[in-house]
Each structure stands twice: as C-alpha cells, then as structure tokens.
Symmetry: C2
Subunit: 292 residues, 2 copies
C-alpha cells in the first residue's frame, strides 16, 4: 500500500465524507434493498476511479472537490458492474473486496435490483448537484452514459463473455475487449474530471487517451496478479474460468515488457499539463506498480 | 383495440420513426449484445409511457414531438425493467408481449447485460438531445433517475418481491407497492412531458398526481385481466406465483368499484388544462377501459 501524497489523501477524505452522506440520503431505510445497496457500496474499494476524477479536475485547474458528485457517480457505476458481474449467470463469484458478494449475503434477485438501483441513482447524483452548471451536468452525464452503456463497458463485458473459453483470440482482440470493459470507465473518470474543470475538447481527448491507456496497463497488471494472495478476489479464479488473460497469449515476462512500454506512453501524455497533473501522475504510477 | 384520435396517431408514428432511428444509432452492430437489445426493444409494446409523455407535453403547450427523446428514454427504461423482471431469479417468465423473453431467446447473462445497456443508454438519449435546453435535459434526467431508481421503481420491485407469497397485506400495502412499482414510471412519463413544455412546479405536481393515480388504476385493471386471453403474458401467471393482486384481497366487483372511483378522481385532475389535455384524457380513458 502506497502512502498517498497530501493532495490525494485530502481528496480521498473529501470523497469518503461526501460518499457516506450520499448513501444516507439515497438509501435511508431499513428495507432490504437499501441495506443491500449500502452493503455493496461499503466493500472498501481502492477508489481508483473517484481519485482519477478528482486528480483530472486538478490537472484541469479546479480543486478536486469541484468534481465530487462525478466521482461518486462513477464509483456507484463501478460498484453496480461488480455486483452484476459476480452473479451466478455471469462470473459466479462468491468473494469480492475480501467479503461475500452481494448475492451471497442477500440473494440473486436483491443483487440484481441493487445493481439496477446503483446504476440509475448514479445519474441522480449528478443531475441533482446544483453546484455544477447545467452545461457541466449534461456533458458529464453524456460522457458517463456513453462510456458505461451498450457502446462502452457493457459491450466490453458482452465481448469478454463471448470470447471466454475460446482459444482463438489475439492480443489485438484482448486489447479491444479491455479497452471497453475496463478502459471505458477509467477513461471516463479522467474525462469527467476534465469536464468539471472546463477543459477544451482537445484536452478531453487527451485525458481520454491517458485513461484508456492506463486502463489497459491496469488490466495487464491485474492478469499478472491473478492467483496471487492479497487481491481480495478468489485466487486463480480467472484462469480457472477460462477467462481471457494476457498470460494466456504471452509469457509473463513478455506481458511485463508490454505493460512497461504502455506505461511510458501513458505517463508521457501527462506532460501537457505540467505540474498541475502531479496527482494524476502519482495515481497512474501507483496503479501501474500496484501499490494502491 | 381503440382507434386512436388523429393527434395520438401522429404522436405514435413520430415516436416509432425516431425510436427506430435511435436503435440504429445505438445498436448498429451484429454483435449479440446489440442484436439482443434490438430484440428486447422490438417486442411491440403498447407505447403507453411514450404516448403519455407526448400528450403531457401537449397539455403543457408544446407539440408532443418536442418531447420525443424523453418518450424514447422512458420506453427504454420500461423495457429494461421487463427484461430484468422476467429473469429466472425474479419472475422467471418465458413469455412477454407475446414472444419468448430475452433470456429465453438469448441467455441469462445476455439478458442481464441488455437490461444494463438499455437503462444506461436511456440517459444518453436525453443528454445527447441538443434540441432540448441543458436546463430541460438536467430536469428530465433528475426526474427519470429519481422515479426509476432505488427510491422509485426498483424499490417497488423489491417490496413486491418481499410481500409475494405472504397473505398478511392490506389494500394500503398494495397501493403503496404499486404506486412505486408501476406508478413511479407512469407518473414520470406525465412529468417529463410537463418538463418539456416548461410547466411550473405546481403543474408538474399535478401531472405527477394524475400519473400516480392512473398507474394505480392501471394496475388494478391489470390484476383483473390476469388469466385472460389476449394479454400477451403467460395466463394466470401472477396468481400461480402467489403475486400480490387486488383480487387476492377484495372481490372482483369490489376491485371494479375501487377502480371506477379512482378513475373519476384521476380524470378530474385534467380539468385544469382544459382542451389542451384532450390527448391525455383520451389516453387515460383508454388505459382504464383497456382498449389500448
């Protein structure tokens, strides 16, 4: 675990406080659905996407706190995707973030509804944030929906499912699947921060490239870690399920070299923002070296 | 089947044309996910919610066409809720709108992802509609997310699941479940039309009351029809599954009288708009008499 810089530590604290308040507001009752929503959100994730949103906002010249509702929305969407992904008809996983998955603790129907609620309510969090201009809210919602929906993350999940268990895929196939499945939401995180900071279209495209590239390296490192202790997931689960991994098409050393090359290209993209991108650079390096 | 008035017929035609174009834009590929999304959307629904959006827009003083993207978004959300509701872990239904349900034609995982895609992309449809001001888009998204999420429709579904198979519920319990499960989205349809027409907050509340009340009558009539031919659903399915129905707590005649009383109250609410609410009135009557 990396010691975060003061800037990222402050962002994380601000995020946790607002995230907690949001949960109290959205899911206040003792009904099973609300309890289950809070259970799913309480799994202590690494908060990679919210921190990326806030760091990208800083790079774009506004405080990370200006993008807090966008950070919360993307964490909710990430969480919903995990809850649905863990369901028996998908990956059928019983362990997530070191705890029993939502459908194990509750039941399948409740987990299905939890995912539906978190996904829908993520858009409430943005649309209800009166501190953002309507222009910023619409642009952020458009970005989030585009990245998370049938042309983005969900498409990536469908492709992943389609190819799982087959042996005839190439590195290009794998790259394109992960660019959607993991990359779309990581890229959206960076773009959302840029939107909060009033970035130009060119700057948003640059943030998107950084995010996509970072998402890909992240996935390669994730594959290299499958089967290792301390990841909070069922060990060796991906390999066992015949999942597509970089290690199934290239040697471990080769995957490391590929990751390293991508890393250099990724961090190079941040030079444009100079010192303002310090938090983004720190996050990128931490993710790639998996110290976060 | 009722013969629609010229005004509603024009609205329906405009809706179908834009709906088709939207599907081509959002789901253009031959990938299974996109094919399955189109399959789910192609089930010829009654278009009740889109027509309500457009009729409410007219009552509010703008052409129904001004609210087309809102009409499409709500039909997508309605469709996603049916796809997820039909899954084996929920109602486990094999027939919907007279055709095999999405998970039967494809598979469970694909149906899960179809629902996720339709729900997410519904927000894209609104946020990308440059013909609406950012103010209207934000307000519409806030309304839709609030009504469809964990404080609205999804909460209603969870409550319905919780009470199913139990005998100790009252008419008040049933009313409150259906006000969320069916009523939330029907009410949102009316409010969305009002938002497109620039209605005041007071007018929006009135539209919401009309929609909630209409949703309740709709549900009572739906229960009375369970087990009848020609509904496109598995016959007697609700009763067999121990679902909560008004007929399980009151005699059929009593349910008819309750529906009739609610109907009068519902249509009374439309007087405020005078002749501009003609399409809304026609729709309300058609829904209550189930000629649509």
């Amino acid at each position: 675990m990396l010691t975060l810089s003061d800037s990222l530590t402050r962002s994380l604290q601000a995020f946790e406080a607002r995230f907690e308040a949001m949960q109290t507001r959205l899911y206040p009752t003792s009904e099973t659905l609300h309890q289950a929503c809070r259970y799913a959100l309480a799994g202590r994730g690494k908060r990679i996407r919210p921190l990326l949103v806030m760091a990208a906002a800083e790079a774009s010249g506004v405080p990370g706190e200006a993008a807090l509702s966008l950070a919360i929305a993307i964490e909710m969407i990430h969480t919903y995707s995990l809850v649905h992904d863990d369901l028996p008809c998908m990956d059928d996983d019983e362990l997530r973030r070191g705890r029993a998955t939502t459908h194990v603790t509750f039941d399948e129907a409740t987990a299905l509804l939890v995912g539906d609620a978190l996904l829908t309510d993520a858009f409430s969090v943005i649309s209800d944030d009166d501190d953002l201009s309507t222009h910023v809210r619409v642009k952020a919602i458009a970005c989030l929906a585009r990245s998370a929906g049938g042309r983005g993350m969900v498409k990536g999940q469908a492709l992943d499912m389609h190819w799982t268990g087959r042996g005839d895929f190439t590195r290009t196939d794998l790259d394109s699947i992960h660019l959607e499945k993991t990359g779309a939401l990581i890229a959206a995180s960076c773009v959302l921060g840029g939107i909060a900071g009033g970035s130009t279209e060119g700057e948003l495209r640059r943030l998107e490239s950084f995010g996509k590239s970072l998402g890909l390296v992240f996935q390669i490192v994730d594959d290299l870690l499958d089967g290792k202790e301390g990841t909070g997931k069922s060990i060796g689960k991906d390999k066992e399920a015949g999942k597509l991994t970089y290690q199934s098409i290239m040697a471990t050393d080769e995957a490391r070299i590929y990751a390293s090359k991508l890393t250099d290209e990724t961090l190079e993209l941040l030079k444009y923002w100079g010192p303002k991108a310090e938090a983004l650079r720190e996050l990128g390096q931490a993710l790639i070296q998996r110290t976060l």
